[in-house]
């Protein structure tokens, strides 16, 4: 292993690279890791050169966000496919809404193969940091550890790199009426996130052509082994499963979930597909559902739920969060933070076709099982016990 300090550079091995950023966590703040493809002038060619949670693959997949959880974020970089004209791929970390500073961490690491860049953080006041850059040099690629940044957070960093940022969503005022999502100008990247809360429980996502692209739904949770008691020797991993009820415009209804191997379909009805079920803990970014938003006109409503397949329900420790990522729209986040409930099933969010818009509502209601949730939402499936 070779350790690089800020300022140090080293040649990279040829071939595709995995860049692992160990940024850790700051209590009460969220760290976002993004990459920017910049030209020789240090600016992006367009907003399509920013790879982040709202745009996880750029330059035809040459740079992609491969996963994030537990204080780590992984990118894949295929240097041979990076377009000519892009001189550097810049890796950055920012603190969402500047709710903390990087001084709250002791250090961050950037790892590529045997190279580990270590960036000391104590005493820092920045809320946006350039961690490292992968750059062309005499026909091959090198990495430089940087460790410099901005106190003004993502906005200052984005300006430095030539990205125009859409205005953040206005702070939601407590109001019973649904607040429409701000329509972002088409030339800017929308970095705002919408958190649906009890007070602000609905958002409408609108697109003129009614085609929403690939809508991605992620369920993530605290997967750390939890001790079951103070003197207990046993511990168990929590396995949360993600699923959906889907009703089409023509009245057909289906269940998409791993239980019963009902993984659904993306190109075929119900146009909702569950991407594998990870029970090994190897996948650290939780479970993913994909909704074919180009077929939104055929879909009437979707209920997204999470359930605990094994283990004792403890929603507080599980700390689950569902994110709904619609291309070009603010990311919608729903936290399962109504604690103290011992029932193993949680209806998290609903997506309804409201005159062609996607109306996302926070549910976060708890149920004993599929049947009870079904009846409280009026779907009318027939249920039998099953196992994976």
């Amino acid at each position: 292993m070779t350790v690089l300090s800020p300022g140090a550079n080293a040649p990279l091995p040829s071939g595709d690279l995995t860049v692992l950023i160990r940024h850790g966590m700051i209590p009460g703040a969220e760290i976002d890791v993004s990459t920017f493809l910049v030209t020789g002038t240090g600016k992006v060619r367009s907003d399509a050169d920013m790879c982040f949670y709202g745009q996880p693959s750029v330059a035809g997949g040459a740079v992609a966000l491969a996963g994030a959880s537990g204080g780590e974020t992984r990118f894949t970089v295929a240097p041979s496919r990076i377009p000519a004209g892009v001189e550097r791929v810049i890796f950055t970390a920012t603190i969402h809404e500047n709710r903390g500073t990087f001084g709250q961490l002791s250090e961050m690491e950037v790892q590529v193969g045997v190279l580990t860049g270590k960036i000391p953080c104590s005493g820092r006041t920045e809320t946006a940091l350039i961690l490292a850059e992968v750059y062309r040099r005499n026909g091959s690629w090198k990495i430089r550890v940087v460790g410099q940044g901005f106190n003004g957070g993502l906005a200052a960093l984005a300006t430095h790199l030539g990205v125009e940022i859409a205005e953040p969503a206005p702070t939601p005022a407590p109001s019973p009426s649904p607040a429409p999502a701000p329509a972002a100008p088409p030339s800017t990247v929308n970095l705002s996130k919408v958190s649906l809360t009890k007070q602000n429980s609905t958002v409408n996502l609108q697109k003129d052509d009614g085609r929403f692209g690939k809508i991605r739904v992620n369920l993530n949770w605290n997967q750390k082994a939890q001790k079951t008691g103070l003197f207990s020797f046993g511990s168990s991993n929590i396995d949360l499963d993600l699923g959906a009820f889907v009703e089409m415009r023509n009245g057909n209804r289906s269940v998409v979930q791993a239980l019963g191997n009902a993984f659904g379909g993306f190109g075929t009805p119900p146009f909702v597909k569950l991407l594998g079920d990870d029970r090994t803990g190897a996948v650290t970014d939780g479970e993913w559902l994909e909704i074919n938003g180009d077929k939104w006109a055929d879909i009437d409503r979707i209920l997204i739920y999470a359930f605990i397949y094994e283990g004792v329900p403890n929603w507080q420790q599980t700390d689950g969060v569902v994110k709904i990522i619609v291309p070009g729209q603010p990311e919608v986040e729903v936290r399962m933070n109504e604690f103290g409930d011992k029932r193993g099933m949680c209806a998290v969010a609903s997506l309804e076709n409201s005159n062609g818009q996607v109306r996302v509502s926070r549910e976060v209601t708890f149920h004993k099982g599929h049947k009870e949730m079904d009846s409280s939402y009026g779907w009318g499936f027939r249920w039998t016990a099953g196992s994976k």
Binding site: G7, Q148, H160
Partner: protein, 191 residues
């Protein structure tokens, strides 16, 4: 386009520009664009005898002693921020006036308070050294150091030296830990 050297390469100044009498040694780097403490880079010049040491403290030209004892080397002054295009600091040398027992002129750059500010050359963008014919303004040779440094706080950028009766320039790019003090010690200046 002037000649550009890589680390370790050298070039005969006398052959490249036969009319060269007075040279301007330009040193540059980019000001930091990020937040945090500015980089204050200081250029210093050491006139070295055959032994590789200065003959006296008068052969050390830096921000507090802008001219050599012999008068052949003049530092044009400290730039505290690195702002502006082109050279950030420069040193003028009248080659004919350089005492005959001075064999080499080492041009160095150090980062002021580097340890305290946790700064190193790797965080400085686009550092270069260039030799300009002061009479014509033409650039004779240049060396871009940006790939040749990382965690150093003091660096020898280049050397102008005598070789078989002519003046040559060598791209050095050699770094030292310990800042200007270590550099002085290396060249026989007692602080």
């Amino acid at each position: 386009m002037a000649l550009s050297l890589s680390k370790g390469q050298n070039l005969s100044l006398s052959k490249t520009d036969p009319g060269l009498k007075n040279i301007l040694i330009g040193l540059g780097w980019d000001a930091r664009a990020t937040d945090g403490q500015d980089f204050d880079l200081d250029a210093s010049v050491f006139l070295l005898a055959e032994s590789g040491k200065v003959r006296s403290d008068a052969d050390f030209i830096f921000y507090n002693q802008l001219q050599s004892g012999c008068g052949s080397v003049v530092h044009t002054g400290d730039n505290r921020t690195g702002e502006g295009d082109g050279d950030d600091e420069s040193v003028k040398v009248d080659l004919a006036m350089v005492p005959t027992d001075v064999q080499r002129i080492a041009i160095t750059v150090t980062i002021d308070k580097a340890e305290e500010k946790r700064q190193s050359f790797g965080q400085v963008s686009n550092a270069f050294i260039r030799i300009v014919n002061e009479a014509t303004g033409a650039e004779v040779v240049r060396y871009d150091l940006s790939e040749d440094y990382s965690t150093e706080t003091a660096m020898v950028f280049g050397e102008v030296y005598r070789h078989n009766g002519e003046w040559k320039f060598k791209a050095i790019g050699q770094g030292y830990a310990g800042g200007l003090k270590a550099m002085c010690h290396q060249y026989g200046i007692n602080i």
